[in-house]
C-alpha cells in the first residue's frame, strides 16, 4: 500500500496508541495473576515464589492422592449439577410466566425473584442458616444446594427472560392454532427456541454454584464443598502446591465451558437475526 498513514490512523493519532496501551495493561493486570496458577503448579518447590525451581508433576499426583480434596470436588460437582438443573427449570418457568402472561403484581413478583442478586451474600447466608436451624433441618450438601438454588435462579431467569422476550409470542399461538396442545407446543416450539438460553443458564448456574463460598460455608454439614475445603487447607503450606494444580485444572475447564456457552449463545442469536420477525 502507500506509505501515507491511513486517515483512520491519523484521526485516532496518539489517543489510539494510549488506548491500546491501557487495554494491554488492563488485560495483564487481569490475567497474569491467574496464569501464575498453572505456572507454579509445575514448580518443584513448596514455596510459591521466584525463581522457579524446575519442572514437576508431583503436585498433580499429590492432588489426585488427596482423598478429602477429591471428595470435596465431587461434592461441588454434585451440588453444581443439581443447582444448575433446578435453577434453570425454575428460571424457565418464571421467565415463561413473566414474558407470556400478564398478572397482577407482576413487577413485585419479578423484583422479589431478582432480589437475591442484590442482597449481600453474607446476610443471605446468615438468614438461611437461622431458618434452617429454626426448622431443625440438618445441615448437609442439600442445604448448600438449596442456598445455591436461591442464588442462581435469578441468574437463570435473567438469561432465559431475555431469550424468551426475543421471540415472537405468536409462534406459540401458531403452534396451538395448528392443533398442538400447550404441552407439545412447549416441546416443539418454546424449548428448541429457548435451547441456547437454557444451555447458557445451565452453565452459568453451575459456575456460580461451583465457586460459591459464603453460602456453602454457612450451610454445609460435614462434607465441605471444594472452595471451602481449599480455604481450610490454606493454613498448611505443604498443601498449597496441590491446591494450585487443582486450581489450574478448574481454570482450564471453566475457560472451555465459558467459550462453549458463548459459542452456543452466538449460534442462537445469529439465527434469530436472520429471521428478523417482521
Amino acid at each position: 500500500m502507500t506509505t501515507k498513514p491511513s486517515r483512520e490512523a491519523k484521526r485516532m493519532g496518539d489517543a489510539g496508541g494510549g488506548l491500546a496501551l491501557f487495554a494491554i495493561a488492563y488485560l495483564l493486570f487481569l490475567y497474569v495473576p491467574v496464569l501464575f496458577l498453572p505456572l507454579f503448579s509445575f514448580n518443584d518447590s513448596i514455596f510459591v515464589s521466584f525463581p522457579l525451581q524446575g519442572f514437576t508433576t508431583k503436585w498433580y499426583e499429590q492432588m489426585f492422592a488427596d482423598e478429602d480434596m477429591l471428595k470435596a470436588l465431587i461434592a461441588s460437582l454434585q451440588v453444581g449439577g443439581v443447582v444448575a438443573i433446578a435453577s434453570t427449570i425454575l428460571g424457565l418457568l418464571g421467565a415463561k410466566a413473566v414474558t407470556r402472561y400478564r398478572m397482577p403484581g407482576q413487577g413485585a413478583v419479578t423484583g422479589l425473584i431478582m432480589l437475591p442478586l442484590f442482597i449481600p451474600e453474607i446476610i443471605l447466608g446468615i438468614s438461611l442458616l437461622i431458618l434452617v436451624n429454626a426448622l431443625d433441618i440438618p445441615l448437609s450438601l442439600i442445604t448448600v444446594a438449596i442456598g445455591h438454588i436461591m442464588l442462581c435462579t435469578p441468574f437463570a431467569m435473567a438469561v432465559l427472560t431475555s431469550r424468551l422476550d426475543g421471540f415472537d409470542r405468536s409462534l406459540e399461538e401458531a403452534s396451538m392454532d395448528l392443533g398442538e396442545t400447550p404441552w407439545m407446543t412447549f416441546w416443539r416450539v418454546t424449548f428448541p427456541l429457548a435451547a441456547p438460553g437454557i444451555v447458557s443458564s445451565l452453565l452459568l448456574a453451575f459456575i456460580v454454584s461451583f465457586d460459591e463460598f459464603l453460602l456453602s460455608f454457612f450451610l454445609q454439614g460435614r462434607q465441605p464443598t471444594l472452595p471451602v475445603y481449599i480455604w481450610s487447607q490454606l493454613r498448611f503450606p505443604s498443601k498449597l502446591p496441590s491446591v494450585l494444580s487443582l486450581g489450574a485444572i478448574i481454570l482450564i475447564t471453566s475457560c472451555v465451558l465459558v467459550f462453549f456457552a458463548e459459542w452456543v449463545r452466538q449460534l442462537g442469536t445469529t439465527g434469530d437475526r436472520k429471521v428478523g420477525v417482521a
Partner: protein
C-alpha cells in the same frame, strides 16, 4: 335460514383494567364467503378474530363455529386456522417442516404427508423451496408459507390478520387478486382483517365496518359505498361531502332540504322524516360535476375553485361555495386528451348533481 359457519352473538371483550375492545358485537358469516372486518387501527378487529381462533375468550356472549358453542373449546381443537400478522414462521424449521407442522400430529402416513405438503408448495408456487429456512425467504414468500401452513390443515374457516400489511404496494395488489382466486378455488370461508378500505372493497363478498369495538354496518362492497347507514361509515369508506341540512317539507317521494351554501335543494325521500328535522345529505365527489357555464336547469350551486389536483385518470377539485365553511370536493374523470387547464380559477364554476345521488343520513 342461511347457512352460517360462524355466528357471533352479543360478544363483548373487556381486557383486565381496560376499556371494552369489542362491545356487544353480533355478526353472522356464511359458509364459503370472503368476509372482511374493516376499521381503523385499535377498533377491535384483531381481538374479534382472536376470539374466533380461541386465543381470547369473550367476556360476554358466545361464538358458534359450525353450530358449536366455542367458549369452552381451546384453540388447538377448533376447525379454524390463522395467518398471523407477523406470519409466525417457525425459525427453527425449514419450509417443508413449517407446512407439515400441523399435519404431523394427525398421524398421516409419510407418503400422504409428503403429497399434501408438496401440493401446498405447488399451490403457493414455491415448489423446490422445501429445504429453505424461514430466514431465507422474502416477505412475500413468508406470507405464502404462512398461508399454506394454515390451509394444508383444511380448516373450515381461515382467519387472516392484515396478511398483506407488510408487503409493498405492487406485491400487495398481486396478492389481493391471488388470495381472492385462491379462496374461490378452495371454497373455504375466509375472515379477513384489514384497515385498508380499498383492499376490503376489492376482495370481499361482505364487509363488517367496525369502530371503537362496535360493528356499524355489515354489507356488500357496493352497498357500503353507495348506501352507508351512518356518517361514520360514509366517511370511512371513500371520500364524501356532508351537508348539514334541515327538512323543509316532505312531498310524496320528494323531500325539500335546505343547507348552508346549497340553499334549497331536493332529494328522494326516506322513511321517518318530517319538516323541521335535522338531517345530513351526503354526496360522493365523483357524483358531482363541474361546468363553467351556468346551468339552466337541475340542481347546482355556484362556487370558486380553490385548488385542483391532476391525478392522470381523474382530477380533484376543491370548490369554495359561499355560506359553507368546508370546500366541496369534486372528482372529475379526465375522459378526453386535453393539455390545457380545465377551468379558469378567477371565474365562477357551477357544481351540478343528480338528486338521486344524494345519501340521506340521520344525524
Amino acid at each position: 335460514m342461511a347457512d352460517y359457519i360462524i355466528r357471533i352473538e352479543n360478544v363483548t371483550k373487556q381486557f383486565a383494567g381496560g376499556a371494552k375492545a369489542v362491545d356487544g358485537v353480533s355478526v353472522n358469516i356464511e359458509r364459503g364467503e370472503f368476509f372482511s372486518l374493516l376499521g381503523p387501527s385499535g377498533c377491535g378487529k384483531t381481538t374479534l378474530l382472536r376470539m374466533i381462533a380461541g386465543f381470547e375468550f369473550p367476556s360476554e356472549g358466545e361464538i358458534f363455529i359450525d353450530g358449536q358453542a366455542s367458549s369452552l373449546i381451546p384453540s388447538y381443537k377448533r376447525p379454524t386456522n390463522m395467518v398471523f400478522q407477523s406470519y409466525a414462521i417457525f425459525p427453527h424449521l425449514n419450509v417443508f417442516d413449517n407446512i407439515a407442522y400441523g399435519l404431523r400430529k394427525e398421524g398421516l402416513p409419510g407418503k400422504e404427508l409428503n403429497r399434501r405438503v408438496e401440493e401446498s408448495l405447488a399451490m403457493i408456487k414455491l415448489t423446490g423451496f422445501g429445504k429453505r429456512r424461514g430466514d431465507q425467504l422474502s416477505g412475500g414468500q413468508r406470507q405464502r408459507v404462512a398461508l399454506a401452513r394454515a390451509l394444508v390443515k383444511r380448516p373450515k374457516v381461515l382467519l387472516l390478520d392484515e396478511p398483506l400489511g407488510a408487503l409493498d404496494k405492487k406485491l400487495r395488489e398481486e396478492m389481493q387478486i391471488e388470495l381472492r382466486q385462491l379462496q374461490k378455488s378452495v371454497g373455504i370461508t375466509f375472515v379477513f382483517v384489514t384497515h385498508d378500505q380499498e383492499e376490503a372493497l376489492s376482495m370481499s363478498d361482505r364487509i363488517a365496518v367496525m369502530s371503537k369495538g362496535d360493528v356499524l354496518q355489515i354489507a356488500g362492497p357496493k352497498e357500503l359505498y353507495e348506501a352507508p347507514n351512518c356518517i361514520e361509515v360514509a366517511s370511512f369508506i371513500g371520500n364524501i361531502n356532508l351537508i348539514n341540512a334541515t327538512v323543509k317539507g316532505v312531498n310524496g317521494g320528494e323531500i325539500a332540504l335546505e343547507g348552508p351554501g346549497f340553499g334549497s335543494f331536493g332529494a328522494p325521500s326516506i322513511e321517518g322524516v318530517k319538516a323541521g328535522d335535522k338531517i345530513v345529505a351526503a354526496i360522493r365527489p365523483e357524483k358531482l360535476s363541474l361546468t363553467a357555464q351556468k346551468p339552466t336547469s337541475g340542481a347546482f350551486v355556484e362556487g370558486m375553485i380553490k385548488a385542483s389536483a391532476y391525478l392522470g385518470d381523474r382530477s380533484h377539485h376543491q370548490v369554495f361555495v359561499k355560506g359553507r365553511d368546508e370546500a366541496v370536493s369534486v372528482a372529475a374523470q379526465n375522459m378526453e386528451r386535453e393539455m390545457s387547464a380545465d377551468f379558469d380559477a378567477s371565474k365562477p364554476v357551477y357544481v351540478t348533481w343528480d338528486p338521486k345521488s344524494l345519501i340521506l343520513l340521520k344525524s
